[in-house]
């Protein structure tokens, strides 16, 4: 027998499941699909956890060189870019002038002004979904969250590309073919500097929260509706 013929196809199975079918209340046009109580609590926790990104940096870029055994570093947060040590941003900018890189001025990066509001919106929507229990809101939340994260990474890449490629034509050090884009994720040797780029604590919170959201979506899709 062809085993494939007995396998369920996408969408099969649940609807045909007699106990579930029988457990369903009578059809009612006002009925909405609500989340399980544990899911709503988990979602609320995930949404609230997002507020940590106001306190914790999302990303860390590190630079090491023979002259900098102690390393230089930047923390990128939802609303700020600061040196790992008080003078690191200053020092990195000063070093970058040799290769003609633009000065990194956090005040000139508009994302740092509107990202906090996007996060606030995500927290609000997540809480609204949890309070109302509406699965549609959960799906919307995860969808917006995931696309926001993807857009953020793309934006981060764009900034990195811009800083790394848009170099002053009269730069002190010009090496044909050499650009200075930091890695999006990972490590890279650039002249005498070894650059690293990894999520920082706030970034880990974001990733975990998104992961929780995705898990909730999978869980809720597999659960029967709950009466309002």
């Amino acid at each position: 027998m062809n085993p494939a013929s007995t396998a369920l196809r996408w969408g099969e199975g649940r609807v045909a499941d007699p106990p579930f079918t029988q457990a369903r209340p009578t059809a009612d046009s006002t009925q909405v699909r609500l989340m399980a109580r544990s899911s709503r609590l988990t979602l609320a926790a995930a949404a609230l956890a997002l507020s940590l990104v106001y306190l914790l940096p999302l990303w860390h870029i590190g630079l090491k060189a023979p002259q900098y055994p102690e390393g230089l570093g930047l923390y990128i947060g939802v609303n700020r870019i600061v040196g790992e040590k008080p003078q690191d941003l200053n020092s990195i900018n000063n070093l970058n002038h040799y290769i003609g890189m633009k000065v990194i001025t956090p005040g000139d990066i508009p994302e740092l002004r509107f990202m906090p509001w996007l996060v606030a919106g995500l927290i609000g929507l997540g809480l609204a979904a949890a309070v109302s229990g509406k699965r549609a809101l959960l799906y919307l939340w995860v969808g917006l969250f995931a696309s926001g994260a993807a857009a953020g990474l793309a934006d981060f890449y764009r900034w990195g590309y811009d800083y790394g490629h848009d170099l002053a034509p009269d730069a002190i050090i010009k090496i044909p073919g050499m650009t200075y884009q930091p890695p999006l994720l990972g490590n890279k040797q650039m002249l005498n500097f070894y650059a690293t780029s990894w999520p920082a604590a706030g970034g880990v919170v974001l990733i975990l929260a998104l992961g929780v959201g995705v898990w909730l979506v999978l869980r809720e899709r597999g659960s029967p509706p709950v009466p309002a």
Partner: protein
């Protein structure tokens, strides 16, 4: 056929001496060395020493900083002498540090580094050191390793017994080593006995800021007050000063001041002195003495103070007692318990050890021998604990202590260190030094908890110890292991100037507090510019101010015109760097001054009076970057009265 040659008599004598002295002609170690010494002092590249040692630079006037056990020189801290390498005493911001009541003095003779103490332990905050020639005391901030304050001691002469620190850094002390008319007056030198006297001074240290103020001075008979140690623990509140020349000779003192069998230790109850001052028993003498300090803006200032409070011992009973001590005493050193203090007699062959509790009993029982100029002299035996008599060596000078009840005394004449037990004066061990040891130190050896491990001999003569360097040879320090029953020589290393005394402190108490850069945003120098856009050149009559910045690898401005021959050109360089270990220098052709050396975030000013017409280069003197050589600029100098307007380039 081999020619007959004389055996060199010196070599023969040396060979004979070696056999006689060591009893062994096939020794595998050099004089004093031990087999595992290299491993004991080896600090691998990139690793840190366990201790900082701060050594006086003697007649260099500075303090040098070494790592122990490696003996590596880490820094020279300029204190009493101009230092062109660091522009100390040359930059406008630092010149006031060397002001005195005699005017600007570019040098002194520095002797005794003394670490600040909390509860009789080294706290790593400050280092004090004396200037012997023009009496002064300096305070060095150990987080920055720079001199922050210098106070002159009024009416003093030969500030040698200084600046030893009380157990809570309440005071640093000072005393007159060369008695003079006090206050000064024009008298025959032969009238020494009636006209000459000394002062023992207590300089108060502010517990927060470290600021030095002259607390009070005690007017004492005209002996030569030589060295000192404040008490600790039970003897806290007292300080002990040796004095020689109780003969009060005024000429050929080497003989005339060596006649008395015993000179004295002055035991001063400074807490009693504080009380007498509070009771208004001090008299205010007119005086002139400089007080110099570095302010928050990292700019030095100098003020002239005009009064000092002086206590006469007769007006303050219980303030001072004399303890007889043998043969021209030099050091007086208090053991970790604070109960015992040992005196070194330069011409003695024994070391007397006194007990503080016996001193108290003798005072209470009025066990006095006589009075010296109105000051009670206690009976020697009444204060004595024991004498180190069992052939301890010749010419004991100084004693330091370990944590196990042992003392280490330097013997100048017999050139050795003798280890003895404090409680019963038993001699335990001895080791030669190369040569003529003066001071010695044990890390933490003057605290209530010595760190032990090593004793370091500070030697006056090195002769055959290093490759010869003409007539002038280095002095030296010798690192000796004291962890075992027998002392072992591990290392000797040359020093800068004469390392009269040194103190060592665990690196862990200091190293993590080191300042790496000065905060540019917090730079309060009145001539600072914090951004290239603010750089400028301004003329005011014959004075031209250049507000310049430096950052890798350029000055701004670096083209300056409109300067005239004979102008006073004040060049204020602010280093915009905020990166550790990136100072920039500044030097311009023909300046009658040193370079400037400007730390990150700091502003330094040099004055240049151009003498010739032309275009003169200036450049960075401290190799700062790959393009350090390009860090240069030009100043155009026009004839006096020319119409060339002041101009300069600006950042694009």
């Amino acid at each position: 056929m081999r020619a007959f040659r004389w055996v060199h008599p010196g070599r023969l004598a040396a060979a004979v001496a070696a056999v006689v002295l060591t009893g062994c002609s096939t020794g595998t170690t050099q004089a004093g060395g031990t087999g595992d010494a290299a491993a004991r002092v080896y600090v691998p590249p990139g690793q840190y020493d366990e201790f900082y040692m701060f050594a006086s630079g003697g007649f260099s006037g500075q303090v040098s900083v070494y790592g122990l056990p490696s003996g590596r020189l880490l820094r020279v801290i300029p204190v009493f002498s101009q230092d062109p390498e660091k522009s100390y005493g040359y930059s406008e911001q630092s010149k006031p540090m060397l002001e005195t009541s005699y005017g600007f003095i570019p040098w002194d003779d520095a002797h005794h580094p003394s670490l600040s103490k909390t509860d009789a332990l080294n706290d790593g905050r400050w280092l004090f050191i004396n200037g012997n020639n023009t009496p002064r005391i300096a305070r060095i901030d150990l987080a920055e390793m720079n001199t922050k304050e210098i106070i002159e001691i009024p009416n003093g002469a030969g500030n040698h017994a200084s600046p030893f620190v009380t157990q809570g850094t309440e005071y640093v002390v000072s005393a007159t080593r060369f008695s003079v008319p006090t206050p000064q007056k024009d008298v025959p030198i032969a009238s020494f006995k009636e006209n000459f006297s000394g002062l023992i001074s207590f300089v108060a240290v502010d517990p927060q800021s470290g600021k030095l103020t002259l607390g009070f001075q005690v007017h004492v008979p005209g002996f030569d007050y030589d060295l000192a140690r404040p008490g600790k623990g039970p003897s806290h509140g007292w300080a002990f000063f040796t004095s020689y020349n109780t003969e009060q000779a005024n000429s050929l003192k080497e003989r005339n001041a060596s006649q008395n069998d015993k000179d004295v230790i002055a035991a001063v109850n400074w807490k009693q002195g504080e009380q007498c001052v509070a009771q208004g028993k001090a008299t205010v003498w007119p005086a002139r003495y400089a007080h110099n300090w570095v302010d928050e803006a990292d700019v030095a200032h100098s003020e002239m103070l005009t009064a000092t409070r002086v206590l006469e011992p007769a007006d303050c009973p219980g303030l001072i007692y004399y303890i007889p001590t043998p043969k021209s005493p030099h050091g007086v050193d208090v053991d970790p318990s604070g109960e015992f203090f040992a005196a070194g007699g330069k011409l003695a062959a024994m070391v007397p050890v006194f007990a503080f509790s016996k001193l108290q009993q003798a005072i209470a029982g009025k066990e006095f021998d006589k009075e010296l100029n109105g000051i009670p002299v206690l009976k020697y035996e009444s204060v004595l604990s024991c004498e180190v008599r069992d052939n301890p060596g010749l010419g004991p000078l100084h004693t330091e202590f370990d944590a196990n009840g042992n003392a280490y005394t330097s013997m100048f004449l017999s050139s050795e260190i003798t280890k003895w037990r404090v409680k019963d004066c038993a001699v335990l061990d001895r080791i030669p030094t190369y040569y003529s040891i003066g001071h010695l130190l044990v890390p933490g050896g003057d605290t209530r908890q010595p760190d032990g491990k090593y004793v370091i001999a500070l030697n006056k003569i090195t002769k055959d110890r290093y490759l010869p360097t003409g007539p002038e040879l280095a002095q030296s320090a010798q690192l000796i292991d004291i962890t075992g029953a027998k002392m072992k020589l591990l290392l000797d290393f040359p020093t800068i100037g004469e390392p009269h005394y040194a103190q060592a402190i665990l690196a862990s108490k200091i190293k993590d507090r080191q300042i790496k850069t000065f905060d540019l945003a917090g730079n309060k120098d009145p001539f600072a510019v914090k951004a290239e856009k603010d750089t400028r050149v301004e003329r005011k009559g014959n004075v031209v101010h250049v507000y310049m910045t430096s950052i890798r690898s350029h000055f701004m401005p670096d083209n300056i015109e409109g300067v005239q021959v004979g102008d006073s050109v004040y060049i204020h360089v602010t280093n915009l760097e905020q990166d550790w270990d990136v100072p920039h220098g500044f030097a311009v052709t023909g300046a009658h001054n040193s370079e400037l050396l400007v730390m990150p975030g700091q502003t330094r000013t040099t004055v240049w009076v151009p003498q010739r017409v032309g275009v003169f280069p200036f450049y960075c003197t401290d190799f700062c970057s790959a393009l350090h050589q390009e860090m240069q600029g030009y100043i155009r100098v026009s004839p006096r009265g020319t119409g060339v307007a002041v101009s300069f380039n600006s950042p694009k």
